[in-house]
Symmetry: C2
Subunit: 376 residues, 2 copies
């Protein structure tokens, strides 16, 4: 492909990976050779995180020990609590995670006895505590305890957020969404993490770079945009009318299509089934119907399929997660994939430093300050 014409490194191979395949022949997703449908149906997120980071599925003992280790790493250091209290209530939740992660790097820095894998465990365990501590402090003034007794990351997060034990369906819905969001090859945030790693920088720098990159609406922020779209409409007909107008005005509709998948996003049918199940259980008569109508229209009019972000939005809504936390939940999941890529980059590192095509001014002589005229 012609890089210069396409831009954004589309179609350019930037390196090798043994972690995931995305959209070979336009379809499909595997993590370490396992199909995403198989993983979403038959594994839990912690199993998948282990698979991504260590390369093989854990056995019973390994999984049990891993879960116990993650539970033991959920507590917030007291100075981190102070930082979270100093971050204002108005902050973007992704900025809370980026800042919390960056600060953690100053009190628990990477070292020979605190490896990238140790830090990955810590971040996977602590991110939900970090986010909800900040949220509850500013919403209620309470300095919450981050002990929940929940076995899973999904359960821990929901328990802290809702202030009580979540039901099994809700917990599993979020758990599955974490599996689906855990890894996606050389996406922008992962590639940013690999670039930071390629200079021999530390684990926290790479994860901060990834969080900041995921934050944008053209990447992780898309699920929040999808929610904003869906909840705008009071009926499927109103949605159809609204969408037709958006398309006529050539507005970007978030949650559809994908840079790499050309035929469908294999994660979408999984999360859609969960959206349907939750809609039925919670007695929803609107959001799911609106979502389906938008999906149909986007296919009929633009031949665009929903990506993972589209039905994730209603799943998170039904689970009681506030919209500004959708992208942070993506962070909880993708931390596993980022870590796998950081470790892979380190094993066979070369500085990532592309060239540029210069289109600027020809060589010119500096005019002394006193002789420069008024600005143009």
């Amino acid at each position: 492909m012609n890089t210069k014409k396409q831009g954004g490194l589309a179609g350019v191979v930037a390196g090798q990976t043994a972690i995931a395949t995305v959209g070979k022949e336009g379809v499909g997703l595997t993590y370490r050779g396992y199909d995403i449908h198989d993983l979403a149906a038959n594994a839990c997120f912690e199993e998948v995180a282990w698979l991504l980071i260590y390369g093989e599925l854990p056995n019973q003992d390994e999984l049990h020990n891993y879960q116990q280790r993650l539970i033991s790493l959920r507590h917030l250091p007291s100075t981190l609590c102070k930082i979270l209290e100093l971050i204002p209530a108005t902050a973007h939740p992704m900025d809370v995670l980026r800042t919390g992660c960056s600060f953690l790097g100053t009190i628990e820095p990477e070292a020979q006895n605190h490896t990238a894998q140790n830090i990955a465990d810590r971040l996977l365990a602590i991110f939900p505590s970090m986010l909800v501590y900040w949220y509850q402090f500013h919403q209620t003034g309470k300095q919450i305890s981050t002990e929940t007794g929940e076995k899973s990351i999904a359960g821990h997060f929901l328990h802290l957020l809702l202030g009580k034990a979540p039901d099994e369906t809700t917990k599993r819905a979020v758990d599955v969404s974490l599996i689906l969001y855990a890894e996606h090859e050389f996406n922008a945030s992962t590639f940013a993490a690999r670039i930071a790693t390629s200079t021999a920088s530390d684990m926290y720098s790479a994860i901060c770079a990834a969080i900041g990159t995921l934050r944008g609406n053209l990447h992780g922020g898309a699920n929040e945009q999808a929610m904003a779209l869906i909840e705008r409409f009071t009926s499927p007909d109103a949605a159809e009318q609204g969408l037709r107008q958006m398309l006529a005005e050539k507005k970007l509709v978030m949650g559809f299509g994908h840079r790499v998948y050309s035929k469908s996003d294999p994660r979408s049918d999984v999360i859609k089934a969960w959206a349907k199940r939750l809609a039925d259980e919670k007695g929803d008569k609107l959001l799911y119907a609106v979502s389906e109508r938008i999906e149909k229209l986007m296919w009929d009019e633009k031949a665009l399929f929903p990506n993972l972000d589209f039905y994730s939005a209603s799943v998170y809504y039904f689970c009681g997660i506030p919209t500004p936390m959708f992208t942070p939940v993506f962070v909880f999941a993708r931390t596993a994939g980022w870590t796998a890529h950081i470790l892979e980059q380190r094993r066979n590192n070369k500085l990532i430093r592309p060239d540029a095509d210069y289109i600027g001014p020809a060589p010119r002589k500096l005019i002394p300050l006193l002789n420069r005229g008024p600005s143009s």
Copy 2:
């Protein structure tokens, strides 16, 4: 070139830029068409920052107003002071800047009335205050004032650091080094900033990604490594002996060669002249002589030329800057280049998302947890 063989996107054009040319035909560096020698001899850093960010050199009024604006933006918000006090004395100074920048993004977020350009002004002005406040608080227990009355960023930084007005030679040496470090096309940290920007993320996220990427020893950290090398030797002869041993052991010598320049680094002769001048003025009999011997040996034995990082190390040493601050000073300068690239990326944005070459396991079926054997 064959990307797969070379790796790290070497020789791959990742996009267009009108900001700098690096090493066309293996030599030379221009910012917006102006040769780096012309800029280093005839401009101040603030002029160069304006040139990079706004595309043309400022006239007298513009430069004056810009300098006044930067002076007015040096103060630290009280909550940021608390954050800096909570970051331990043992922290890596780059982590201080990464965390401080990230936190600033939560209290002064990007918005329509607080643009990327406004944030660039603020960061250029505040980074030296941020670093030295943290440093002095932990070294002396004092909460320093960040008012210095110094006109330039170089002067402000040195004044805060040394606790008194720096002499003119020292000030200008650091000022010139900031010009040399200000911009360098699609280097790794700048490319990381462009990737974060390409997802439509905010200015702070892009700068945090860049700081974290610059931190590595294969990028910004190289000047600190060069210093550690130079100060290890007690004479030029000892340096020659030590270097020969390192080369025999195939150890990496930092501060030599460059990914893009093949014949010389055009910034090196400028900074070397300043190293010589400072060595003479400060009565140095060792560091400069050791540096020259290392340079000669690297050329004779490996045909490698010094890059900017090599003689920057002794310049900063002669100016009284502690080694762990060398890479942060690089941040003070490169914030100008990063900003120029962030604005350029936004003007013609496309998500940066490369492909990967999959070398992992073939498709395989998940074995139920209970049936998995002991780990291999």
